[in-house]
Point group: C2
């Protein structure tokens, strides 16, 4: 299977997008981060959710989270008021601290994509054709494609019902 | 809102679980990682998906992913055959390289959890009562709880339909 067949939609934001809109996109996406597109529409980095919180939560509360208990619910609105008027560019960590974003060719094989994620310790790769982003391959999507069908035909494993069938439970 | 109200189910594995079962759990979960529980059932770290791939994909292919093109589809089964008989403990990076896992008290406020995620640059926190894991709070769940309702009452922002209503599209 090739990267173009594995690519899925993934939330993206532009560098110039409003920071509060990015925070909402992340909230609604259920994802731990967003792919950031540069001014030419090319994927350039990932904006981690924790980075949004770093800009919103006062530094003295980050240093001692117990101080957060003095905040009431209303204060949360004010936290995110700080994001208003800022852009995604302002949310990103310093350039040298940016998450390096793996980009793969649409013709890359699934094992090639696995090698790239392994080497870069990344949870996802962007599939790009020239400057155009076709989609994203997450590590779990890749594992679904690569893993031999359960039960394991080699017979070495006896997958447990609770983790191999349906949603895993929190134990 | 308190951490106990925000806690959600999240896939977990035990240190002694079979590595191939962990890989399947990750594939089915749609998550970029799994919470790892130690022998006493306490959350001790996160197993990132890329770590599973690091053990499966040969080192020479990780060094030069283009070499992956010599693999055919069948070879993928053999890659993951390597995981068989290994445990989650074998998949984890060296102890000093473990992801530090934020653990919060069930009574922690949402802003306190935000401060912890911000400080530790983590996409999630585990909610624990003593040794018992109650669930996990992801950064996107936290943002849903903390963000003021859209449209922004300050009137500074005009959220765009494509990113504020429903699923964000890949642009």
């Amino acid at each position: 299977m090739r990267a173009r067949d594995l690519a899925q939609e993934f939330p993206t934001v532009d560098l110039g997008d409003d920071a509060l809109v990015a925070a909402r996109t992340m909230a609604e996406s259920g994802r731990p981060g967003l792919v950031v597109l540069d001014d030419r529409g090319r994927a350039c980095t990932v904006l981690p959710g924790s980075q949004v919180l770093r800009l919103a939560v006062p530094v003295y509360v980050q240093s001692d989270p117990h101080l957060a208990r003095v905040y009431d619910e209303k204060a949360a609105d004010e936290l995110f008021g700080k994001l208003s008027g800022k852009t995604v560019r302002d949310l990103l960590p310093d350039a040298h601290d940016h998450a390096e974003l793996p980009v793969v060719d649409p013709d890359a094989t699934s094992i090639e994509v696995a090698a790239v994620l392994a080497r870069m310790r990344s949870p996802l790769a962007v599939v790009s054709e020239g400057d155009r982003v076709l989609g994203v391959i997450t590590v779990s999507r890749l594992l679904r494609a690569l893993l031999p069908a359960a039960p394991d035909p080699t017979g070495h494993d006896e997958p447990r019902g609770s983790t191999s069938d349906g949603e895993p439970e929190l134990r």
